[in-house]
């Protein structure tokens, strides 16, 4: 990983990433959030898994109501 990617990946702790992922279901990301999230998820399989689960819950709720 190059130093810039590493810097971006390490900027956010996983706990904060999970909160951000949930918040972004409610509002669009800022450019900085989008970049940080992108690099974090590329480097962190646990948070990437969390991100998929949150998306799945939203899709499950969509199917539930239609």
């Amino acid at each position: 990983m190059n130093p810039i990617s590493r810097y971006l990946a390490e900027r956010l702790a996983c706990r904060d990433v999970t909160r951000l992922i949930s918040q972004l279901q409610e509002r669009p990301p800022t450019l900085s959030e989008r970049l940080k999230l992108h690099f974090h998820l590329a480097a962190c399989e646990a948070c990437a898994g969390f991100d998929r689960q949150v998306a799945f819950v939203r899709e499950a709720m969509r199917r539930y109501r239609t």
Partner: protein, 195 residues
């Protein structure tokens, strides 16, 4: 479809509407009123059903207005701060992370989630998990994900801040994720992070 067939079709959705209204209002009598009003309005407004969406989606749209009305009436007795207080607290999920904010228990891998969505039993488990959410957390989550209210509408209706709302929705998603993990995807416990 003639009027009788339409009435019969609508009636088949009563159970679903009742479950949604109960999860939302957490009060059986209020839920029954909202569903009854919805079915009456649907019969009266049959011409308004264009067939562009499913009957279920159309009925959910009507129910949404009835529920918002019920919440507005209830606004005269606002959500007690104390009960909401517990649910805007993130402590429950802190054990998932270590003190530096990294995962202590990694999210388990869910195999073939797409397949779950085509199983009826999955939605029974989902309802079970929704029902297990703390009362206000469940109400807010249903407002967002079933009633599809915008965040600022929910904040206005419940007189909470957007930060409260984010915390409540985060709690709801965390809890649902763990509940589905336990009761559907079959991982008895979140797996430890590989060293």
């Amino acid at each position: 479809m003639d009027a009788d067939a339409f009435a019969a079709e609508i009636e088949t959705h009563r159970g679903y509407l009742m479950r949604v209204a109960t999860l939302q209002l957490r009060d059986r009598a209020a839920a029954e009123d909202a569903v009854q009003d919805t079915l009456v309005a649907a019969l009266a407004g049959r011409a308004g059903f264009t067939g562009r969406s499913s009957v279920k989606t159309w009925l959910t749209g009507i129910l949404k207005h009835k529920i918002v009305d019920a919440i507005r009436r209830r606004q005269r007795e606002p959500v007690p701060e104390a009960s909401l207080g517990d649910e805007t607290d993130l402590d429950d999920f802190e054990p998932l992370f270590d003190e530096t904010g990294h995962w202590e228990a990694m999210p388990a891998h869910w195999s073939d989630p797409e397949a779950a969505l085509s199983r009826r039993q999955f939605f029974d488990v989902l309802e079970f998990c929704l029902d297990k959410l703390p009362a206000n957390t469940g109400r807010v989550f249903m407002m967002r994900e079933v009633m599809e209210l915008e965040s600022d509408e929910i904040c206005k209706e419940l007189r909470i801040t957007s930060n409260n709302l984010w915390v409540i929705l985060y709690r709801a998603r965390m809890a649902l994720r763990l509940c589905l993990d336990k009761h559907w995807f079959g991982a008895p416990e979140a797996r430890p992070v590989a060293p």
